[in-house]
């Protein structure tokens, strides 16, 4: 059983972080990022050509992360691979001991750096979860043929509580859970009020008992970063008060961290939230500070106190 | 002017009411329930879909008890999602089309120069007629016309003329073919020779049959034909089998009447319905035909058979006249009485038929210019691809669908503003827009 799964099932409030692979073969950059956060997080998400920009493959990066002594969460998107490639990559990863998988639909290629590319979207994230679950639990491929050997995998999915149609979001999550999602990582939370309303719905449907929900956190580095996310990143909701605080802050970075920490504190209070997923894109170095400030350090389990 | 807005209880957007007020319409919103609110004089505007068909509108009018022509459909359903400005303009255009504003055209009207070019030189009857109308005429053996606004300029002399009258020439066409044996009877004479022939022989109980083909035997022939009435001595029976009787000329009506009174029998029928054969004794021609009125064939033995030769009018060579790329086109109608004076080019006329009428037409043109137009939109259902471009782009919502299967484009003449926009947009070129110049006949661009 994967460390992440263990911790979650022990009821530990877990912390995961995100590491974006480099636009090249520079494995050192990954190792470096890992070094910065080792001991402060329980697992690391490796993005799969996020925002449709070509990067070192998620699969390879996961292996590098493992060597760096961290627990990888491999992201798989349906954008670039059909059910054949996805299943084989899944098997490959499992064979090499990667156990956590985050199944995503993926950002549309026309928003990335190869807009001329032909998208695949053979299946969507829900179907992907279903296929992986079947491979693991029933030992059969999407087409029903037998899979040799036994597969161990901890399946997760993403969800954005803030996108439209709002009322449908919870049910979509329910679908993912039904399909086989064991943990959920949400879009970055700023609007706590909206988020807790969403969580209420989830509790009403008793979903929080079936799935571990990790709330997303993005530490804001600057006002520009905020503006960019607010306007450019689809499905991102940032309430006005955040913007105000960033604007009036003497030191925006500090303020960003403060906001993140406060948010985490608030999230811990919400029933059903089992952890946080810190997406400090291109600012991994800040993760330790946030984890410390949130009193989530040291991490239990592997590599506890070390790292500093 | 009252307008009753029909078929919409929903609160109307501002642009509807505002424009109405701007155009000083008093209006009220009516529904099927409270149609009594309608004043008999009021105009009913249906805020419906452009897909409302004429029949539906008529039916509605019936329900409202108003004259269908007073019911206009504004394609509200289609329009209302558009940006407000667009709605406004469309709605404006629509309202204007309800009551065409007093055409300020009159104020601008440009009238052609009061001078006429005759080509080739006209005979004195024509010149006199124009002189009487105080319209100076000019003519040149050789020239080039170039359009300058409403006027033409006769180059190289550079004389402005307001109009140009073409004088067609006559061209003999092969006459009606008569069966050999009929010719053998020796009883066939040409119209010109008929008087002498008749003058010679004794005319007791003699029967003369004339075959007059269409199109367009020229007036001289008709003068001769009508003159037969006054043939001495009486008793001869004259039968004129004509495809068309030509009376559109001063005095012809009169002559025609007199001839009939004198017992000349005119029978209007296609010559194809006439059959000829020699009599047994080969001294007469048996003419059999079925008149249009009654179905029973009439048979008579003609002592003299007169095939009037077929003549047709051809325009003088007009290729040297520079009028953009349009050359003068004339489809001659079957009925010579309906010869158009006008051509497809405004300001260019053809002189045939009654000289007086021609002069009147030309002088009216010179007074009014070619500005006043009444257009007509024609849809060629065979070409139409039913793309509904016209229906969607008509500024006055005059275009709808008709037919049981709603597979035909129908233009509501009452609403059509004759702008030709639909014709310009039609991708299948199924819509032709004709400008019918008052008194001028047709011209197309």
């Amino acid at each position: 059983m994967s460390v992440l799964q263990e911790l979650l099932e022990q009821g530990v409030f877990v912390v995961t972080a995100e590491v974006g692979p480099p636009k090249g073969v520079d494995r050192e950059s990954i190792v470096k990022k890992c070094a910065q956060i080792r001991g402060f997080v329980d697992a690391v998400n490796i993005t799969d050509n996020q925002t449709a920009i070509v990067r070192l493959s998620s699969f390879a990066s996961c292996l590098i992360v493992r060597e760096a002594g961290l627990e990888p969460v491999m992201q798989l998107t349906c954008r670039d691979r059909n059910r054949i490639a996805l299943q084989s990559d899944f098997l490959g990863a499992c064979a090499l001991g990667i156990e956590n998988f985050l199944c995503l639909t993926g950002d549309h290629q026309s928003l990335g750096n190869h807009p001329e590319a032909r998208s695949v979207f053979d299946i969507d994230s829900v179907q992907l979860l279903g296929i992986f679950r079947k491979i693991r639990d029933e030992g059969v491929f999407a087409n029903g043929e037998k899979v040799k050997g036994e597969v161990r995998a901890f399946l997760g999915a993403g969800e954005n509580p803030f996108a439209d149609p709002l009322e449908f979001r919870v049910f979509r999550l329910a679908k993912k859970v039904e399909a086989g999602a064991q943990f959920i990582q949400t879009q970055a939370v700023f609007d706590l009020e909206l988020f807790s309303r969403w969580m209420e719905e989830i509790r009403r449907l008793k979903l929080h008992e079936k799935v571990h929900i990790l709330a997303g956190i993005i530490p804001l580095k600057s006002l520009q970063a905020l503006r960019y996310m607010k306007n450019e990143v689809p499905g991102m909701v940032i309430p006005a008060w955040v913007e105000e605080r960033m604007q009036n802050a003497r030191d925006p970075k500090e303020e960003g961290v403060r906001i993140a920490v406060e948010t985490i504190a608030a999230l811990r209070a919400i029933e059903g939230v089992r952890g946080v997923h810190i997406m400090a894109v291109a600012w991994e170095s800040i993760v330790p500070e946030i984890v410390r400030a949130s009193g989530l350090f040291p991490r239990p389990g592997q590599g506890g106190g070390e790292g500093v | 002017m009252q307008v009753a807005l029909f078929g919409s209880d929903r609160s109307l957007p501002l642009w509807v009411t505002e424009e109405l007020e701007r155009m000083a319409f008093s209006f009220e919103v009516v529904t099927p329930e409270k149609t009594k609110a309608l004043l008999p004089s009021s105009f009913v505007v249906v805020l419906g879909s452009a897909l409302l068909t004429e029949d539906e509108v008529a039916e509605l009018a019936l329900r409202l008890g108003v004259n269908p022509l007073r019911v206009a459909v504004f394609p509200y359903e289609e329009v209302r999602d558009l940006p407000e400005e667009k709605c406004r303009t469309l709605w404006q255009g629509f309202l204007r089309s309800l009551v065409p504003p007093k055409r300020d055209v009159a104020a601008f009207r440009v009238t052609p120069t009061r001078r006429v070019l005759l080509y080739p030189e006209g005979d004195e009857r024509l010149c006199e007629a124009f002189a009487r109308a105080r319209i100076p005429v000019v003519s040149f053996p050789s020239f080039v016309l170039s359009r300058k606004g409403v006027d033409f300029h006769v180059m190289p002399h550079d004389i402005p003329v307001g109009a140009c009258v073409l004088i067609p020439s006559l061209q003999e066409e092969p006459p009606v073919v008569l069966p050999r044996e009929v010719l053998d009877t020796g009883r066939v004479v040409a119209l010109e020779r008929l008087p002498q022939v008749l003058g010679l022989s004794s005319l007791r109980k003699m029967c003369v049959v004339l075959l007059v083909p269409s199109p367009h035997p020229y007036p001289e022939d008709w003068e001769r034909i009508f003159a037969l009435a006054s043939l001495p001595p009486q008793g001869a029976q004259v039968l004129v089998l004509a495809e068309e009787v030509f009376v559109a000329r001063e005095g012809f009506e009169e002559a025609f009447r007199r001839a009939r009174e004198a017992g000349v029998l005119f029978e209007k029928l296609p010559l194809s319905r006439v059959s000829l054969s020699p009599s047994l004794d080969m001294r007469r021609v048996v003419v059999t035909y079925t008149p249009e009125k009654d179905p029973f064939p009439v048979r008579c033995e003609a002592h003299w058979l007169v095939p009037v030769s077929r003549k047709t009018c051809v325009l003088p060579p007009f290729d040297k006249v520079l009028l953009s790329d349009r050359e003068v086109v004339l489809e001659l109608p079957e009925n010579p009485n309906l010869l158009p004076f006008a051509t497809n080019i405004p300001g260019v006329f053809v002189a045939w038929g009654d000289v007086e009428d021609l002069v009147v037409t030309v002088s009216r043109y010179l007074e009014e210019g070619s500005i006043q137009e009444e257009g007509r939109v024609r849809v060629d259902a065979e070409r139409c691809a039913l793309c509904l471009t016209c229906l969607r782009s008509c500024p006055t919502g005059a275009i709808g669908l008709s037919g049981d299967l709603k597979r035909c484009i129908a233009v509501n003449e009452a609403l059509c503003a004759r702008c030709g926009i639909c014709a310009g947009l039609c991708p299948a070129r199924a819509i032709t827009f004709e400008v019918v110049h008052r008194v001028l006949g047709n011209h197309r661009l």
Binding site: - | P101, R103, V105, F108, K148, G149, S324, C419, A423
Partner: protein
């Protein structure tokens, strides 16, 4: 440089004639004159066909606001824009313009026609 003119019979054509009375010499440049009921009805082909015989073609019509047929002049404007763009693409030196005038406001037309 030869001129062709399509004038709407409501404003454009009268305007042209009015101008012609003021400045007769314009006629020496104008090789084509087409009166039409509304500029909106003039399709691209007609425009191009007339362009065959002149260097510049003017569509003279009512100012869009006062066009009797709501969007006739506007439509003409769009067409002209499109055609000019096509001509440019094809690198054809000929030009088409939309001019709004009536006998009471000849300014724009004058500017285009009188050299």
């Amino acid at each position: 440089m030869s001129l062709g003119i399509i004038g709407c019979e409501r404003s454009g054509f009268p305007a042209l004639c009015a101008l012609g009375k003021e400045e007769p010499e314009i006629w020496d440049r104008i090789v084509e004159v087409f009166p039409v009921p509304c500029l909106g009805g003039v399709d691209e082909e007609t425009i191009l066909r007339i362009l065959l015989r002149c260097d510049t073609l003017l569509l003279v019509g009512c100012p869009p606001a006062s066009c009797r047929n709501a969007w006739g002049s506007t439509l003409a404007e769009k067409r002209v824009a499109r055609v000019s763009q096509l001509l440019e693409e094809a690198e054809i030196p000929k030009r088409v313009f939309c001019v709004f005038a009536n006998p009471n406001r000849l300014g724009e037309l004058k500017a285009r026609v009188v050299v």
